[in-house]
């Protein structure tokens, strides 16, 4: 299928709508979830709190956008957009089901990582542009974190790509259809003959940790560590500037969950091969998002060196070893 | 007993035997009615200000065991004795004796020990020129206490590394705990 301008526009519009709706209601879900975990109700007035996100949105939009004195105005304004836009672009290539995919690209995996790398740039520019010391410190932290977790994440993805022989997300998900025994997370795959991949659970674990870190979620939320750096890179942002960062964060969470679902959990496939479809996909990503929320409200924050040590000293060696071993196994079987 | 050791050390430190009054602890008997207290107060009013020396106090009545008053010049030596005996600095404060035109600086010391011994060191300086050597070289913790005392009383701690207002605003030029302070 050719990429025409028209359906590109439609795709982007739908992606923005999906991302925005997700961001708004994931905030509510997060707050309700946090409430449950902390034995309190959370926002619950007005239809179980369902009117809370629009109210928040209106509040954010009607606030004045303050630009701190001495800030680099251009970068300060560009950064939130840069945080949000690539996240939306990534939605274009995510297959929600066998039929619902805006543009199935052969380099889909690569595209998501390419756009994810904008996230680091956005944080960097936000922190630097606001001319706030907390912002700059947070930017440096967040970027070193993003860079160091991109490495094991990509290495882990390579194992998947080696197994499936494609970078097309749609194909990767299709290969796992049929039932949960075909999913990449499990050590045994029977989709086309018997295949032994004993290291896949490790890959999954690495990928899961990395996607937590890449989305700057607790316990890896060092970029906005509020007890140290006030609010990190978005200390100076209010109004919709903050709103865009917020939406970008949740859009990234959705993308991270979608990627995990597609790469490891069989995409839109039913665990028992029945009625595959978009509902299974949504169920899986929301379960994953719930686990993100659960983790966030359970663990304290790590330290920046603890975080970097985890990446460089543990995850990268393990993922490299994993890669070599998987390659070896592929060669043998 | 650490109390006796310290007392002896202070007695050795203050070489001038004349000002030392080994008062039998008068206040120790204060466990009686308020009327007695009034009497005592009436007696005390005629007393001259306290002279330098070591005083052993009843802990139950005063909350401390040894009360030493000395000249500012002898302060460092006295604090060193306490430092050697593992005392820690509780606090430093001042008292404005405006009638006697003197500022008193009070140092509280105690020990992390079951051999309890609280020591109070007092030293008095003239009100118009209150200069006392700093003990922050011996006890770094005295830094803040001395700054606070400087804030409130204007006592100058000679040799203090950073004698600027701590609790008061940084441009404060008044000393609120002086008795002639008018807000």
């Amino acid at each position: 299928m050719d990429l025409t301008i028209f359906n590109a526009v439609i795709a982007v519009v739908i992606a923005i709508a999906f991302a925005a709706a997700n961001a708004a209601y994931l905030v509510l879900a997060e707050r309700r979830g946090a409430g449950r975990i902390q034995r309190r109700p959370g926002p619950n007035v007005n239809l179980f709190g369902l009117l809370q996100p629009p109210a928040d949105g209106i509040k954010l939009m009607t606030k004045q956008l303050m630009i701190p004195g001495g800030a680099d105005k251009a970068l300060f304004m560009v950064a939130p957009v840069l945080a949000m836009a690539p996240a939306i672009m990534s939605f274009v290539t995510i297959p929600f089901s066998n039929t619902i995919v805006a543009h199935s690209m052969n380099v889909g995996v690569l595209m998501i990582f390419a756009f994810a790398s904008f996230g680091g740039m956005a944080i960097l520019l936000a922190g630097w542009g606001s001319r706030n010391k907390y912002g700059v410190m947070a930017a440096v932290r967040a970027v070193s974190q993003n860079i160091s977790y991109e490495v094991p994440m990509l290495i882990t993805v390579i194992t998947i790509v080696m197994m499936t022989g494609t970078m097309n997300l749609h194909e990767i998900a299709s290969l796992q259809s049929g039932g949960f025994w075909n999913w990449n997370i499990f050590p045994v795959s029977m989709s086309d003959g018997f295949m032994l991949q004993p290291l896949m659970p490790i890959s999954f674990l690495i990928f899961f940790i990395c996607s937590l870190a890449e989305t700057n979620r607790a316990p890896f939320d060092l970029g906005e560590a509020e007890s140290e750096l006030v609010a990190g890179f978005h200390t100076e942002y209010g109004s919709m500037g903050f709103g865009l960062f917020f939406m970008g964060e949740y859009a990234n969470i959705v993308i991270g969950a979608s990627l995990i679902t597609i790469l490891f959990l069989g995409g839109w496939g039913c665990p028992f091969g029945l009625y595959p479809g978009v509902w299974w996909f949504l169920l899986k990503i929301y379960l994953l998002i719930f686990s993100f929320i659960w983790i966030r409200w359970t663990f304290p924050r790590t330290t920046i060196y603890g975080l970097l040590n985890l990446s460089w000293k543990i995850l990268i060696p393990i993922s490299l070893f994993n890669l070599l071993l998987t390659a070896g196994l592929l060669k043998v079987f | 007993m650490i109390k006796d050791t310290i007392k002896q050390a202070f007695l050795d430190l203050l070489p001038d035997p004349e000002p030392i009054i080994e008062e039998p602890v008068v206040e120790a008997a204060a466990n009686d009615t308020a009327e007695d207290g009034k009497k005592k107060k009436a007696v005390k009013k005629e007393e001259p200000p306290r002279v330098n020396g070591v005083l052993e106090c009843d802990h139950a009545a005063h909350g401390y065991d040894i009360d030493v008053q000395l000249e500012p010049g002898e302060l460092l030596a006295a604090v060193m004795i306490l430092d050697k005996n593992d005392f820690f600095l509780e606090s430093i404060t001042g008292v404005d004796w405006i009638k006697e035109k003197q500022l008193e600086s009070v140092y509280d010391f105690s020990r992390y020990d079951f051999d309890q011994c609280r020591v109070v060191i007092r030293t008095r300086t003239p009100r118009d020129n209150p200069n006392i050597p700093t003990i922050s070289k011996i006890y770094p913790g005295a830094n803040w206490h001395e700054r606070e005392t400087h804030d409130f009383f204007g006592i100058k701690f000679e040799g203090h590394p950073h004698l600027i207002p701590l609790l008061l605003p940084e441009d404060a030029d008044f000393h609120p705990l002086l008795k002639d302070f008018k807000p």
């Binding site: 010391k133 060196y305 | 820690f88």
Partner: protein
């Protein structure tokens, strides 16, 4: 990170942590000279909520000052008023009925637990874990309800009177307190499982923020900070006041000198306080709560009086220099966190900011109490 850190002083920048900063729990400002994430030099700036309680103490009569004391520390107010009434009772030689003494200890220990519970939540929040705060506040709520029923207030108590108490406890209170104790024990176990064993939590505290015994001595640090440095010092044991000598309780001491040791001390202290409360409830004698001959006007005889108590934060002292009138001639408050905080400047040098703020959390700061 372990190992010595080589710091170049020529490329530092100044970071103002506070006066409005989430980690300082109030208006405290630390001017930090930073080299990247490392602190080269720190200078604490105080006085943002300095209210000159000492001058108020000189301008008001002794009973009028009593409510001021509970405004020092909004978390553990009971201990501070306790110090005041003890000091006046010592100075003016007022007898206290035994029942009142027991109830005082009961209240102070309940308040100590509620203070430690709040600290626990706030400390874990400093480390980025928000949930334990909610659990701690929920448990603290039970204690506050208990105390509200008797004292009439939830935070800034003015319950003690010179010679006794404002209000007697009834059977409802005693039964409710007995019911709360097992609940709190259960909660403490839960916190242990939820937080103490958490690997991230331990990694952030173990070996971080060393405060040695010698440093404590030089700076006059007391309370859990000193006990976390292996110093067996607690005014309740070392210099028993009130009826503390009647109770059987231990002073938790840890020798690791790190933030985790200070955490452990406080968590163990809650258990010890529970023990004291149980014993106080068992031993609670019958009788009046105010002395028979209550002096109408408090006029301590001329002299200099010092009273130290162990509050939730450490050794709190009141020095009253009396000139025989109804006002104090000099009213000095020795607050424990003032001394505990003063060592922060030295202790945090060369640390990373996140570790330094974790250490600051482990000092259990209440800013109004530092500034007085």
């Amino acid at each position: 990170m372990s190992g010595p850190i080589h710091i170049r002083s020529d490329e530092t920048f100044t970071l103002n942590v506070g006066p409005q900063h989430p980690a300082t729990h109030g208006v405290l400002r630390v001017k930090m000279e930073m080299d990247g994430e490392y602190i080269v030099k720190a200078e604490t700036v105080l006085g943002y909520i300095h209210r000159m309680h000492e001058l108020m103490g000189e301008n008001r009569t002794y009973p009028q000052v009593l409510p001021n004391l509970s405004r020092l520390d909004y978390l553990g107010a009971m201990g501070y008023t306790h110090a005041h009434v003890l000091a006046i009772e010592r100075a003016a030689s007022i007898e206290v009925p035994e029942r009142a003494e027991y109830i005082r200890v009961l209240m102070v220990e309940l308040n100590r637990i509620s203070s430690h519970l709040f600290w626990f939540g706030a400390f874990v929040m400093d480390l980025g874990g928000f949930t334990p705060l909610m659990y701690a506040i929920e448990d603290r709520e039970h204690i506050l309800d208990l105390m509200e029923a008797v004292t009439g207030s939830r935070l800034t108590y003015c319950y003690f009177r010179f010679g006794g108490l404002y209000n007697d406890v009834d059977d409802d209170f005693i039964n409710a307190t007995r019911a709360v104790i097992p609940r709190l024990r259960k909660s403490l176990k839960k916190y242990d499982a939820l937080v103490t064993g958490n690997i991230i939590f331990r990694k952030r505290l173990e070996g971080i923020g060393p405060i040695s015994a010698e440093m404590c001595r030089k700076y006059g640090a007391t309370g859990p900070v000193a006990r976390g440095a292996g110093l067996d010092f607690d005014v309740r044991k070392n210099e028993p006041y009130s009826v503390y000598s009647e109770f059987d309780f231990d002073i938790p001491v840890y020798h690791e000198c790190d933030s985790l040791a200070r955490y452990n001390v406080r968590m163990d202290e809650m258990e010890q306080s529970l023990r004291i409360i149980e014993q106080a409830l068992d031993k609670l004698p019958e009788g009046p709560i105010m002395p028979k001959k209550k002096p109408k006007l408090i006029k301590p005889p001329k002299g200099d009086y010092y009273q130290a108590v162990e509050t939730a934060r450490g050794s709190f002292g009141i020095r009253i220099v009396s000139d025989g009138t109804k006002n104090a001639y000099r009213f000095k408050l020795r607050s424990p966190t003032y001394s505990n905080m003063s060592l922060f400047d030295e202790a945090c040098e060369g640390m990373m900011i996140m570790d330094a703020l974790a250490m600051m959390g482990s000092l259990d700061l209440v800013i109004p109490e530092i500034d007085r």
